[in-house]
């Protein structure tokens, strides 16, 4: 098994550079690999077939640029096409005469309730006055869940009817209007797209509240059925876009492509964690990389940039460019890493590293030990790691309550990091 699609294509097509034009044989071979990669990423069979057919047409006869191998050239074309397809359509929400109604719908367990609360928080932070309306009267304690979340983010929750979801929706929107809220977010019960009665009920909720935005909440882990699910929901409530959830996991998320391809509706928001502020705008180019299994360098860099204060960053960058990477930098970057959120997420986004580190524990406690070791060094030692002799290492281990082995490992890791940072500093960050 090859790690990435790029590797796989490289193996199938060979690494020759500038081979003139992409010929039929090369492209066909490449498309077989692309199709397999898409299937492994849970892209629907038909969608994968159609997509590869389109890409094949474009790729045939294209000049191979002199700096790329045919494999790289194909990846570039596939990535561009995927990004274009995923990105088409307007990803903004629509606002009208208050209250703007936003209806969330989807299968059971897709993450609607959490998404509703996240969206409310997100809109409140943008200066809107959102209210939540509880219309999931099906699942035990669903209303309580929404009420608790509403309290956490200080957004009112209307649960005005405990029997009829249509009545609950209508009353909730009316109450939001009366009390001066400008957005009403409707959390509905999870339902199977093949459940006639419940799909009918959803249609009636929509008819009663006239939502300006209907959002399909879709679990990023969804398999081949995503297509049927999306088509059924589209037929009943003509959703305007998708909220893609559980993207903090390691699912490749091909379902997003399937849904886009068959309904034409864009992903509008991405949910990336259980914390209520973990809702992001959707980046088609990153999703394309993810589906193809090519890592996500851009997200990594952007997250890093957002988390690092500007001056710290400038200083770190200067040092990186200079090829320095002391333990002071190590300490600073470890703190920045913490600010960026769960380490696993970050690590996964570095191409090639995700697989390698799988199962390895890069948890926060580990970071704390690392910091303890560094804090047990003298300022001079931190600045000039090469002066740390065996004797000093023993002292540091004792001082930090760790073992010599751990100190040694950290010494080695710093060297490794210095090398990596230098590359990043020169290449992509610079």
């Amino acid at each position: 098994m090859f790690d990435t699609l790029s590797d796989r294509l490289q193996a199938a097509l060979g690494g020759l550079r500038g081979k003139g034009r992409l010929d039929e044989e090369t492209v066909s071979k490449a498309m077989r690999e692309i199709r397999l990669a898409l299937l492994e990423a849970d892209v629907n069979v038909e969608v994968a077939r159609e997509f590869t057919a389109t890409v094949k047409e474009r790729a045939l006869g294209e000049d191979v640029s002199r700096s790329l191998s045919p494999a790289q050239q194909v990846v570039k074309i596939v990535h561009e096409e995927l990004t274009r397809l995923l990105g088409a359509g307007d990803s903004r929400l629509v606002f009208g005469k208050p209250p703007t109604v936003i209806l969330l719908a989807g299968l059971q367990g897709s993450g609607k309730t959490t998404a509703a609360a996240k969206l409310a928080l997100h809109l409140r932070r943008e200066g809107k006055r959102p209210a939540l309306v509880a219309c999931d009267l099906q699942r035990p304690a669903a209303v309580e869940q929404l009420e608790q979340l509403g309290r956490q983010i200080q957004v009112p929750v209307y649960a005005l009817d405990r029997v009829d979801p249509v009545a609950a929706a209508r009353a909730g929107v009316d109450a939001a209007r009366r009390e001066g809220y400008d957005v009403a977010i409707l959390d509905t019960a999870g339902r199977l797209h093949v459940d006639e009665a419940l799909m009918d009920e959803l249609e009636r909720v929509a008819a009663a509240t006239k939502p300006l935005n209907v959002l399909l909440v879709l679990d990023a882990m969804t398999g081949q059925e995503a297509v049927n699910v999306a088509l059924a929901f589209q037929e009943r409530v003509a959703f305007d876009g998708v909220v893609l959830t559980k993207l903090d996991g390691d699912a490749r998320g091909g379902a997003a492509l399937s849904v886009k391809a068959v309904t034409g509706k864009p992903v509008k928001l991405a949910s990336t964690g259980e914390k209520l502020d973990q809702l992001e705008v959707f980046h088609p180019d990153r999703m394309a990389s993810r589906i193809l299994g090519m890592g996500d360098v851009l997200t990594l860099i952007e997250k890093a940039e957002a988390a690092v204060e500007a001056d710290e960053q400038a200083e770190l960058e200067r040092r990186l460019r200079a090829g320095e990477f002391t333990f002071d930098d190590f300490l600073a970057s470890s703190k920045m890493l913490r600010r960026m959120g769960p380490l696993q997420g970050i690590v996964k986004m570095i191409p090639g590293l995700g697989r390698q580190l799988q199962g390895m524990d890069v948890d926060e406690r580990q970071l704390a030990r690392v910091e303890a070791i560094i804090l047990s060094m003298t300022p001079q030692e931190r600045r000039m790691p090469h002066i740390i002799t065996m004797q000093r290492r023993r002292r540091i281990a004792a001082g930090s309550g760790t073992s010599l082995d751990e100190v040694n490992k950290l010494m080695a890791a710093r060297k490794q990091m210095a090398k990596m940072m230098k590359q990043l500093g020169k290449g992509r960050l610079g």
Binding site: D42, M221, G249, D361
Partner: protein, 315 residues
């Protein structure tokens, strides 16, 4: 032909089991899309021509469409090819899938109390499954206590408490934010003190990629094991049948963390076939024990590999 509850629990068969033996997947078949009918007819045809490349391709595609995944599909097709064309494709498929899953499932509940730990990613149906399972155990003469060790999700406790009420099971709760391992401990203690036959521990949904939460789960398991000989007797991983190939990764990492003993495949009442369970059985050797067929308290069945295989490619 289906597996009965009595068989699953290792009991003598009773008359009460009979109705469940017929048409377990009947509802599934009702909801099947038209586009698949032609394929079904072809698969059921008395014999097929092993030389017909297109027939093989269609079989492959049907399996991929059912979320079986590329490697497990290739393996199944290879095995069916190796048999030659003596039987119908469907019969061959059913036999191979049966072979893959091995012996019919059993719940090993020989402890006093027996402890069942229920784990999985967010929203797969853990709490609902516990409610359904508690009722079934109750109906088969086991007294049950459920413990709410999901101390993270809002209103998770209230949800399980409601299911416990419906199932007639004892309930041990917890304040939100409490240490889940401590709650699991309390539940096992209470089960023992009250002389319960089975203690089922619910846990918070967590993504298998969250190392700290997986460590927390391992701790819950350790605490249970330390409290009760042989426990947990079953560790059930709940997987949503709508899940694609990520299900395999879920199974891999949950198995690493807590020694999963069986899979519960939920939401098979939709149109998803849950084929990833085949990939899981093929790559990890994990059996499926139970299937969820709806949101009602009666919508839980012992897994039957033959039924499952037929529904996999059925019209």
């Amino acid at each position: 032909m289906s597996v009965s509850w009595a068989e699953l629990l290792g009991d003598e068969p009773t008359a009460a089991d009979e109705p469940e033996r017929v048409g377990v997947f009947a509802r599934l078949r009702d909801s099947l899309a038209k586009s698949r009918r032609a394929l079904a007819a072809e698969l059921q045809a008395a014999a097929f021509d092993p030389g017909d490349a297109e027939a093989w391709e269609r079989l492959e595609e049907a399996l991929i469409r059912a979320d079986v995944g590329v490697p497990a599909t290739a393996e199944l097709v290879r095995r069916i090819e190796a048999r030659g064309g003596a039987s119908s494709l469907e019969d061959a498929l059913v036999e191979e899938v049966r072979g893959l899953f091995g012996e019919p499932p059993r719940l090993r509940l020989d402890g006093k109390p027996s402890v069942i730990l229920v784990v999985g990613v967010n929203g797969t149906g853990k709490t609902t499954t516990i409610g359904k399972l508690a009722l079934k155990l109750n109906q088969h003469g086991r007294s049950v206590l459920v413990g709410a060790a999901d101390t993270f999700r809002a209103a998770a406790e209230e949800q399980l408490e409601e299911w416990a009420r419906r199932a007639g099971a004892d309930f041990v709760g917890s304040p939100r934010g409490a240490d889940p391992a401590a709650v699991a401990f309390d539940a096992v203690e209470a089960g023992r003190a009250r002389g319960k036959d089975v203690v089922i521990v619910d846990t918070a949904g967590r993504l298998h990629t969250q190392a700290n939460l997986m460590a927390e789960l391992a701790k819950i398991r350790r605490v249970i094991a330390g409290r009760c000989e042989g426990a947990p007797h079953e560790t059930l991983l709940v997987i949503d049948a709508t899940t694609g190939q990520n299900g395999l990764q879920q199974a891999r990492l949950f198995a690493d963390a807590v020694e999963v003993s069986g899979v519960v495949l939920t939401k098979l009442d939709g149109s998803a076939r849950g084929g990833v369970a085949i990939a899981i059985a093929y790559e990890l050797g994990l059996p499926v024990t139970l299937v969820g067929l709806g949101e009602g308290i009666d919508d839980l069945r012992p897994f039957d590999a033959g039924d499952f295989a037929r529904a996999l490619v059925a019209g």
